[in-house]
Subunit: 189 residues, 2 copies
């Protein structure tokens, strides 16, 4: 399954939620904690892959994400998820196999459905508010049509393309922590 | 969880099943197919680890097994299993992470309970019949007592210690295929 996805930073989440409440179907409000791992044989930061355990009220799941497809502003990539019955044991198995925990991303997600698109307004701990619009396709040939549909939706919500963010929450969080560390190192000189 | 386990080759499975039917509690008869994988960063054959997906009527599970503990004739090792909801997707995730399928082991397993021990009579495709007696312990300190309990049970079934087999079904299968290939190579000279 290929996930065609666009993410954008937003400054007015409640206004967007209000608009979505009239134009889309509200699905649920959910709290998600994502634990990201790096591989023993390669650096996922370089290969642009991701492996994560997601914990939410819907039960834990394990997800692999492939490298982003294309060089546009969207975040289209292959995504494969399975449900697992035991978070702690899955974590131990991954660690035994040499995977190392990198960081955690915690967020509250307000989820809507608009036609066959999923729209979520995310309140991400330490990062702020974002909107994610995504659709699933089976083959690379279908990406373009889905991409257009997503950008039309983004446009309909008056979110400018220049606010799109291609980096994952994990990358943004690591970058932020990196710059905080650098600042404190400078302050310590 | 540490699995303390003894396995032995048997030539008279139905006689043993008859004895177990009177002395132990019959639990179930189950067909299991195990798909084994090797790691991208090390050779599990050398590190004595295992990663497998088990398919059975009880639903698929993913299991990691650590190296065997000690140099005795039993197969004591750490074992961690989780239930997964999708065999095909789990396989794709493992392959995307660089794990490669090594081989499959298929068997019919007749399972009994004797005190806190699990006893199974296995009819393994291409390998023949075996008995496995196993118990679970939480710490290394408990291994010795459990080991004694298992060997007493083996003794009670009149199975000689020299019939014990420390190699896994996977190792036995690979060895067998290796020797068949070698024989046919010799025959082709």
């Amino acid at each position: 399954m290929i996930e065609v996805e666009v993410k954008a930073k937003i400054s007015h989440p409640y206004e967007i939620i209000k608009r979505l409440n009239t134009q889309a179907t509200f699905l649920k409000e959910i709290y998600q904690e994502d634990i990201y791992f790096n591989a023993p044989d390669r650096d996922f930061k370089i290969t642009d892959e991701a492996l994560r355990i997601r914990i939410s009220s819907e039960g834990p799941e394990l997800t692999y994400k492939g490298p982003k497809i294309g060089n546009l502003i969207d975040k289209t990539r292959e995504e494969i998820s399975i449900n697992i019955n035991d978070l702690k044991k899955t974590r131990i198995i991954l660690e035994k196999l040499g995977f190392r925990e990198v960081d955690k991303v915690s967020k509250k997600r307000i989820l809507f459905q608009f036609n066959d698109l999923s729209i979520s307004v995310d309140f991400v701990e330490d990062l702020g508010e974002f909107i994610e619009i995504e659709g699933l396709v089976n083959t690379q040939n279908e990406i373009e049509i889905k991409r257009k549909e997503i950008f039309d939706c983004l446009n309909g919500l008056d979110i400018p393309f220049e606010d799109c963010e291609r980096r994952s929450y994990l990358e943004l969080l690591i970058n932020k922590k990196g710059s905080i560390n650098n600042t404190s190192e400078i302050e310590n000189i």
